[in-house]
Subunit: 431 residues, 2 copies
């Protein structure tokens, strides 16, 4: 093997081929959306595995054995989820044994680990639980730290298969604690280092982010570039794998800085954090407290801010003042402002922001008023129009934003993140 | 063919086999979660197609052709999404032609439909747009009413394949308008009727819902039972397909009533609606308005209520009173109540509900106070404890609820739906 300094992420040749198989009627028949496969895929992709296919089959022995045998002939490594539990529907271990022509045996290590797990709840193993310790002959158990069913590693055909439970929490823990490190050893990368950098981006569509980072591959051949879109935020991910930590750290630092430069002020976090987490740490850093007056965002800004544990330290109050009456009575917006300028105006959101700051005693006030749709738009203020007011100790500012969407939920989401992003920029100027 | 009165949903033999293939690097490498396949799967399952496998491959010609050829040898019908756009990454039509040994030809109907779509925006077709009208020889175009790229129907091996765009909105419209009806004709069910019933359930885990509906299959062999879990709500779906509308209507009615009886007051909608939609229609029906005082739910109740278009008619105000100070100053909760009973108490939420009703002038006041976690719990009030207050014109009531979760977001979600469910029951008593 060549001495590994770094993995050239543009080289497909020589990369191990990976596949993912999720099992279970609930996924195959559409009762639940398979979010496991995307998580696993992104994890494998990061460590230089070329993921070529995902499959899903139901709880059906013939289908399971066929899918596993095919994977055994096509892939170098595979992650297979689901069907490891104690019920009669759980066929995965038996199917794996059959696909490889092996027997099922009671694995003493797996049996012990199930016993230990139950002992934590002062419970004894039941008869049906034993089934979860029956593994194909030659399999190596993978410890499950947050559930009953152990996983296992087992070779089918040419493929090293990692079998994990379908419960996302258990799967994720086992993937990062056991599977990814084992694959690194299997790839001959046991002494490798993986360095990551993530940028959170708001205000650019995915195609434009791509466009702006077009030169990346040529400039940073050691660094793998990825992107995850969760409307309306895009996370740009950089990963570098190799053995020389210094070179990698230098490259990932440079590539991160270059990307941040290309994307300018659309980047709101250099650590891949959520907008609400970013606001939280800026508020804490500035020893500031906040109060919110929401109209068109209808509580979503408050919901986001209070998703952060510890938000009670700085989040004092929010008033969802949908009606003009509430804007007047609770926030003290003058009747005249509402009549002269309308509810969706810079003047009104300034009064709202000042009002909520005044009644709550917070350092900062944030206010929104707009038209989320689908109805309520006019020629002058079409659906997608929003005004944002920010009340600061020394001044009050207002902005106007136009969303291209006509759909209520999309608009509430983009409105909320846009308002928080404007607040973030004010907090940065203040700190 | 036997005269079809109804499809016996327990008979697997004789059912057509369906597969789903989603394509694109963004799905295969884990940048986006594939929600299309679950939607398609549930749709096919409903009309009696036995979905045996989902697959996903990236934008790679070799992988695409291999996957399509395999599906052509295994399935009777397939829905294939993604890769129909104008860019060089969009390989689906070419791969389909290759998998079937056919040529690509400019389809005049598809070309016309793209032209018509652009004309709607007063835009002309660009050169790269023509690519989207190049279909495998023998394909039948499927009209795309909300996007550029037309879909098409094309036989590969023994399989009738439906090619659709990957954009969820376009895919969903084309699936229900064109694909599902075409499959009905293909199955010889063109004169068939599909009747549906959905129940929305809150307060029971999936396993218990299953347990309570155990006798369903035997009692109603004509009706297919399905379940979709979107935490913390479960939707129970019943579907009956056949030619005799009267018999089917009778059966689906009986099966719906039986299921609702089994699940008792855990069913909050007999039409499969969301909790917030149910509350909305009850408020409108009762000519009632509402105001909310949220502590532990942090704005989520308001966010849910304002997700409903037209909510400004009955949603007057919400105060997110995280701090005790805000509870006192804004809602007028007496200092003494907070000191004597604590913020998380029946007494405090009653004062909060009364206070928000009073200051807003709404017919009803709803209040929450609790511990969402992960920290903040005590022996007496562990994480997961919530008190709910409802202020009505003639009385004020309070409840206590304990969630088994320790995680903040899960608790906010279950708290919000629980509070709305209690409000719903009060509204039902009043109407």
């Amino acid at each position: 093997m060549r001495p590994l300094k770094y993995i050239n992420q543009n080289e497909k040749v020589g990369m191990m081929i990976g596949e993912i198989l999720s099992t279970g009627d609930e996924v195959c028949l559409g009762s639940v959306i398979d979010s496991n496969s995307a998580h696993i895929s992104a994890g494998l992709d990061e460590i230089g595995i070329r993921v070529t296919r995902h499959s899903c089959v139901g709880d059906d022995m013939v289908e399971l054995v066929a899918a596993m045998a095919e994977i055994g002939s096509r892939a170098d490594i595979a992650v297979i989820t689901g069907g490891l539990g104690p019920t009669v529907d759980d066929l995965t271990a038996e199917a794996a044994a059959m696909a490889a022509g092996a027997d099922l045996l009671l694995d003493p290590v797996a049996s012990k680990s199930i016993e230990t797990y139950f002992a934590g709840f002062s419970r004894k193993m039941a008869g049906s639980d034993i089934k979860q310790a029956m593994l194909p002959c030659g399999a190596t158990p993978i410890v499950n730290t947050c559930g009953t069913a152990p996983g296992f590693i087992f070779k089918i055909g040419r493929c090293r298969c990692y079998f994990l439970p379908g419960v996302p929490k258990e799967m994720k823990a086992m993937l990062s604690l056991s599977v990814i490190p084992d694959i690194a050893v299997y790839q001959g990368l046991e002494k490798s280092v993986t360095l990551r950098r993530e940028l959170s981006v708001f205000g650019l569509p995915e195609a434009l982010v791509n466009e702006k980072l077009k030169g990346f591959k040529l400039l940073f051949p050691m660094v793998k570039l990825g992107m995850i879109a969760r409307f309306p935020v895009i996370t740009v991910k950089m990963t570098a794998i190799g053995t020389d930590r210094k070179i990698l750290a230098d490259e990932i630092e440079k590539s991160g800085r270059w990307s941040a430069d290309q994307l300018g002020d659309k980047v709101f976090s250099l650590e891949g954090r959520s907008m609400e987490a970013e606001i939280a740490s800026l508020l804490v850093k500035n020893h500031a407290t906040i109060a919110v007056a929401e109209s068109c965002t209808g509580g979503l800004i408050s919901h986001l801010l209070t998703n952060i544990a510890g938000s009670s330290d700085y989040f004092l109050f929010s008033g969802i003042t949908y009606s003009n009456d509430a804007k007047r009575k609770i926030l003290g917006v003058p009747e005249e402002t509402l009549i002269t300028y309308g509810a969706v105006s810079e003047e009104t959101v300034k009064e709202m922001a000042d009002g909520v700051r005044r009644i709550s005693g917070a350092t900062l006030g944030l206010a929104t008023s707009g038209i989320a749709g689908p109805t309520g738009g006019t020629d002058e203020r079409p659906v997608g129009t929003m005004c944002i007011g920010i009340s600061l100790p020394d001044k009050t500012v207002a902005y106007r934003f136009n969303s291209p969407f006509k759909e209520r939920l999309s608009n509430k989401q983009i409105f909320a993140i846009c308002a928080l992003d404007l607040l973030r920029k004010q907090l940065l100027m203040a700190s």
